[in-house]
């Protein structure tokens, strides 16, 4: 192909002429250093290229080579438990080659070309296959069975298929269709294009995260989208980490996009040591990391989101439930803004490009529960959880607004809650989940018939608390009736004994749905029993001084195997209240 010539360099943006043979979104190699870039605008024979690496020392006159291919990721065995940068360069192997920091122009295949994988065929010679059909499997890690699928655009009869040890580039299967296709374990897919599926389904099953405030009050479904906006230091990253650790997805893709490098280090240090409660294996065996930390080139940040979601889609197509965490989409939007500014485009709100909302929508719309391609009709789900960092915590800024317009779950983190050490600092008054009805049905069917009615009851108490608090601020607590004072106490108990959850406590960090259900029941039964006692004339402070309340508060530290203890607490509670009534109440009032 024709070689272009640089005429302008402006930070990560390079303009080259003589590029009339290239197409938009083609990958190019800039200068003799072979820096990787992507064409993002073409006028005549002039192409604007965003370069994914540092452009220091590049000047006009230097050559630009077109590859003629869009920016693609390599999909195949070797993805899981690996860490990539924004354009899928394997950071671990690069460290072996170049040391702790990325050097410019370094090129390295994303998937290890040397490593042999054991391929087990699932089809027989003579079988007719179509795109998406599983031709074989590779046990990639202890928990991930990597399914090798027929690539899109290939169909026909299997001519040969072999079991054995192969590298990702060796042919494992030959399919005879309109022409002969050699199928390797690795396939490529352009990152900006969503992978194809047969049919989109309505997401109706909750993604169980083990976080009480999320599962009980603001659930997200498998295949749903949610956003976590919050000011600095309110715990966005901890929420994301907790979800990555405990969500009951089979594959987790964690995209660290423009955030601190230490946070990725935390993931790298912690995950291999934590055991997945479901499989008993290390969490790293189901996790893929994409790291583009704040000191890495800006343009690659824009690509990292797409790289992450394409990999996630690939695993979804195998019929897995996949969750992708993007921390933080604000940094991604800022990268868009930087490129947009250098392109001299007309800015929209706060300098963000006018297409910010459509780009964000494009990204989140790739989530969903789908019927995958292939004759077996398997179902996969891709859940997207994006953190947003609005400056000053004010969610009226463009990135938050563009995000909230698309996502269906909003976990609003609150600086004042974080300041009060209430973690996770998800504000229960302004957060919402539009999947609530669907999930309520599921919970009532699978966990407890009263689950959703209990949730509503607790939420009503929390809302009443906030209006009672206003009265308390004006005229003091003593002016409330005893019933209202009891409500305040119970709401406090919901907040402290149920909503607050210590991410760093061994037992408290993950709560099963059964335990959540029992805990909520227990806290609410204190309200019902309290009302019963008040009605029979028992004094409020007698009820509030019951020592059993300590046991209620400590129930969250009970081990999962010990759930019957919660029922014992509930029984003791009823007994204690009965005692109070018989000694202090007016009988049969």
């Amino acid at each position: 192909m024709k070689v272009g010539r640089i005429i302008k360099v402006s930070g990560p943006l390079v303009v080259a002429e003589g590029m009339d043979e290239a197409n938009i979104y083609d990958v190019v190699k800039v200068s003799d250093n072979k820096l990787i870039g992507e064409i993002i605008e073409i006028r005549g024979d002039r192409a604007s290229i965003q370069v994914y690496e540092e452009t220091t020392g590049i000047g006009p006159g230097e050559p630009v080579y077109t590859t003629g291919e869009p920016l693609s990721v390599e999909l195949g065995p070797g993805l899981v438990a690996a860490m990539f940068d924004g354009i899928q360069r394997p950071l671990e192997s690069i460290r072996g080659l170049a040391g702790d920091f990325l050097t410019r122009g370094i090129e390295m295949p994303a998937l290890d070309r040397e490593k042999k994988w054991h391929f087990v065929p699932q089809v027989e010679v003579g079988q007719v296959v179509q795109p998406g059909d599983i031709i074989g499997t590779v046990q990639e890690t202890a928990v991930v069975l990597h399914k090798i699928m027929v690539p899109v655009g290939v169909s026909g009869t299997v001519k040969s298929v072999n079991e054995g040890e192969f590298t990702v580039e060796e042919t494992v299967c030959v399919v005879e269709g309109d022409k002969t296709h050699n199928i390797q374990m690795m396939q490529k897919w352009p990152v900006r294009k969503g992978r194809t599926y047969a049919q989109k389904l309505n997401p109706d099953e909750p993604l169980i995260t083990g976080q009480r405030v999320i599962d009980t009050f603001f659930p997200v479904t498998k295949g749903g989208t949610s956003a976590v906006p919050g000011p600095f230091g309110s715990g966005k990253t901890v929420v994301q980490h907790q979800l990555a650790k405990w969500a009951d997805a089979e594959i987790i893709v964690y995209v660290g996009c423009g955030e601190r490098g230490n946070e990725m280090t935390d993931v790298l240090m912690e995950f291999p040591e934590i055991k997945d409660p479901k499989t008993g294996e290390s969490l790293m065996t189901r996790t893929i990391l994409i790291a583009n930390t704040s000191n890495m080139p800006v343009a690659a940040r824009e690509a990292s989101i797409y790289t992450g979601i394409t990999i996630a889609e690939y695993f979804r197509d195998m019929g897995y439930s996949v969750a992708i965490m993007a921390d933080s989409t604000s940094r991604w939007a800022e990268a868009l803004r930087e490129m947009s500014g250098r392109l001299e485009e007309m800015p929209g709100d706060e300098g963000y490009p006018a297409y910010l909302a459509s780009r964000a929508a494009e990204f989140y719309e790739r989530a969903g529960k789908v019927k995958c391609l292939g004759t077996d009709g398997r179902v996969g789900a891709l859940t997207v959880i994006g953190a947003v960092s609005p400056p000053g915590g004010d969610i009226s800024e463009p990135v938050s607004q563009a995000t909230l317009r698309i996502v269906k779950v909003f976990w609003g983190l609150d600086a004042s809650l974080a300041y009060r050490r209430h973690f996770p600092a998800i504000n229960w008054l302004n957060s919402y989940s539009l999947y609530q009805n669907k999930v309520d049905e599921w919970m009532d069917k699978n966990i407890d018939l009263e689950f959703s009615s209990n949730r509503v009851k607790a939420m009503v108490l929390l809302q009443e608390e906030s209006s009672l608090q206003e009265i308390v601020r004006l005229v003091g607590r003593d002016s409330l009736s005893e019933g209202d004072q009891l409500k305040l106490e119970v709401a406090k108990s919901i907040r402290e004994d149920f909503l607050q959850q210590n991410a760093f406590h061994e037992e408290d960090t993950y709560t099963s749905l059964n335990k959540q259900n029992l805990m909520l029941k227990m806290v609410l039964s204190f309200y019902d029993e309290g009302i019963r006692a008040l009605d029979s004339g028992v004094y409020l402070n007698k009820i509030l001084n019951l020592s059993i309340r300590d046991r209620v508060a400590r129930a969250k530290y009970l081990h999962e195997d010990n759930l019957s203890e919660i029922e014992v607490i509930m029984k003791d509670l009823v007994k204690n209240i009965d005692d109070l009534i018989s000694e202090g109440g007016i009988l049969n009032a």
């Binding site: 002016s479 409330l480 009736s481 004339g537 402070n541 007016i586 009032a589």
Partner: protein, 102 residues
């Protein structure tokens, strides 16, 4: 129609019976507490209680402070006044009109 009750030691309150008021003689604080809580739930609009008895059960008196019905009014007993009834009226008036006009 609301009824009127008087609670206190027998000697102090028996005279009220002549006025057609319901009389509830009590001997100790537990009994007083139970009687006040019970009749508060019945159709009584005003409960008079002797200051001596009231001083034993401040929690119970406090409980009806913010309720419109019943009004719990402290009265002196046959042993004279402890002044707490008048103090309550003074403080209530002060709350209502902003200054002590009595």
């Amino acid at each position: 129609m609301y009824k009127v009750a008087v609670v206190g030691d027998k000697d102090s309150i028996l005279g009220f019976k002549a006025l057609g008021v319901d009389v509830f003689p009590v001997f100790d604080k537990d009994e007083a507490r139970r009687i006040v809580d019970t009749i508060a739930r019945e159709n009584y609009g005003i409960i008079f209680i002797t200051e001596q008895m009231a001083s034993l059960i401040p929690d119970t008196i406090e409980r009806y402070n913010n309720e419109i019905i019943p009004a719990v009014i402290l009265i002196p007993s046959n042993q004279g006044t402890l002044n707490i009834g008048m103090d309550r009226i003074n403080s209530n008036v002060e709350k209502a009109v902003g200054t002590n006009i009595l």
